[in-house]
Amino acid sequence: MAATAVLRVVEREARVFRHLWRGSVFSNFLAPVLFLGAMGLGLGGLIDDGAGELPGGLDYLTFVTPGLLAATAMQGAASESLWPVMAGTKWIRTYHGMVATPLSATDVFVGHVVWAGVRAAVAATAFLAVAAALGGVPSAWGVVALPAAVLTATAFAAPLAAFAGTQDTDVSFPVIMRLGVMPLFLFSGTFFPVAQLPGAVQPVAWISPLWHGVELCRAATTGSGMAPIVAAGHVAALGACAAAGCWWGSRTFGRRLTQ
């Protein structure tokens, strides 16, 4: 794998994206902002008048902003790493064209993951700007949530793209979205604190990569601070997912594209 080769793959993705960005504006920007409006403002109004208390006495908009930020990074990375990878390996076979050049299968894979990170960075920046305008980002530390969101995206993009590289059809993809991504979206501390889950279920949330991402983003946007050792733990968990995914992906892409 060479950095310049990976960048060429990223360049290719960026060139394709120039024609397709309109569609992604909706799913990666508008939809999360709509969620923020409905949950943060609409439902938040009920919650702030309501019975429960959020940790640190946060208002609900401030609480849910980092949750949606991390969750959006996950969802974008997941959907971009399943069907488009299938298109590259099987349906349109663009990846086969790429490895017929000096690019290696690992270059193609890593390029995909890097591109997922780039897109997450763009989407997260736009989302944070809107959330800040609505008053959901009280701290200037909020900018640190950007790298956290990018890390979250790669933690999902790498293993899912690696998996997609092993599949011959897309039948399993909706199941992954519904039984994997959707429950993570709903129960990783996105909409309510994990502490509210029944005691036996809480450890399950801790192994959710999204939970690590939400915790990092929330510490940043709320400026509530986080012990360096805890932050390092979250970063390590996400980094491990991304690294393991890359190791696996270079193998699955190698098998699929160069044999």
């Binding site: 569609g23 799913s27 939809a31 409905a38 439902l43 009920l46 019975a51 039948v171 709903l186 509210q196």
Partner: protein, 275 residues
């Protein structure tokens, strides 16, 4: 290999038509075809049950603990009781829209499934009706399971809730008609962003997650005329036992929308599939 003329092939009849151009038995053959296709994808079918229940657990129970009680009109209800009917209605919408846009588009445009179907005695009306019946049957199964889950969580306050099942099917009908009609204008998968552009705001803002009175007056009026709000209001009234003749307005709205959509869809599909 050949037999005398038309040996065992059924003779098409013009009697017993539900809609003009639709033969009920022939429409059911499309349902049969979809069931056959789903035999291989039963996991996908089963996971459809999970989604609304997961939302109920997360937003209803999880976020509900933060909200406590909601005041709607002159009564106070726990948040999970408030949100569950909204989720039921939204699930009915989502299922019908997915089946009649995305799934229909693949068969219509890419797999060209209907080109083969229309070489047989089936007609365009039979195809459209069959796909809608399939979407409604699937939606009814999911809605039924969700109602059972609501019952298990103690979120059903009235025997009227039994009618929430047909109400969910009715919501499915309205959106299936709409979805089928919209699909006839689609050129590629890129156009599905427009579908989502219509569906997600409705899902989020049709008094699904918070009551209509949180909106300023004009906006509340706007929300009230969306099809999903009509469905949510209908299901919520039934589940909470707030039933009355006023609900027939919602019913009429949804029936009219679905029928208009189906009418447009059949007309457009005839032009597209049988030029």
């Amino acid at each position: 290999m050949t037999a005398p003329a038309g040996s065992s092939v059924e003779v098409p009849r013009h009697r017993g038509q539900a809609l003009p151009g639709v033969d009920r038995r022939r429409a059911l053959r499309i349902v049969e075809r979809n069931a056959l296709a789903y035999r291989r994808a039963w996991v996908v079918f089963l996971t459809g049950f999970a989604e609304p229940v997961l939302y109920l657990l997360s937003i209803g129970i999880g976020v509900g603990a933060l909200v406590g009680e909601v005041v709607v009109g002159d009564r106070t209800t726990p948040y999970e009781v408030f949100v569950a009917p909204g989720l039921l209605a939204a699930a009915a919408m989502n299922g019908a829209v997915f089946d009649t846009t995305f799934n229909f588009f693949v068969k219509f445009k890419y797999a060209r499934t209907y080109d083969a179907v229309l070489a047989t005695p089936l007609r365009v009306g039979d195809v459209a009706a069959g796909e809608v019946i399939w979407a409604l049957g699937r939606g009814a199964a999911y809605a039924g399971a969700f109602l059972v889950a609501m019952l298990a969580f103690g979120l059903v306050g009235s025997a009227w809730a039994v009618l929430a099942l047909p109400a969910a099917v009715l919501i499915g009908y309205a959106f299936a008609g709409l979805g089928l009609a919209a699909t006839t204008w689609m050129r590629s998968f890129v156009d599905f962003d427009y579908v989502m552009l219509a569906i997600i705001p409705m899902f989020l803002f049709s008094a699904t997650f918070f009551p209509l009175d949180r909106y300023p007056g004009v906006l509340a009026g706007l929300v009230a005329v969306t099809p999903l709000y009509q469905g949510v209001a209908l299901v919520r009234a039934l589940v909470t036992g707030d039933a009355g003749p006023g609900l027939l307005v919602h019913v009429a709205y949804l029936v009219a929308l679905g029928t208009a959509g189906l009418w447009v869809a059949v007309r457009r599909l005839r032009l597209l599939l049988q030029p």
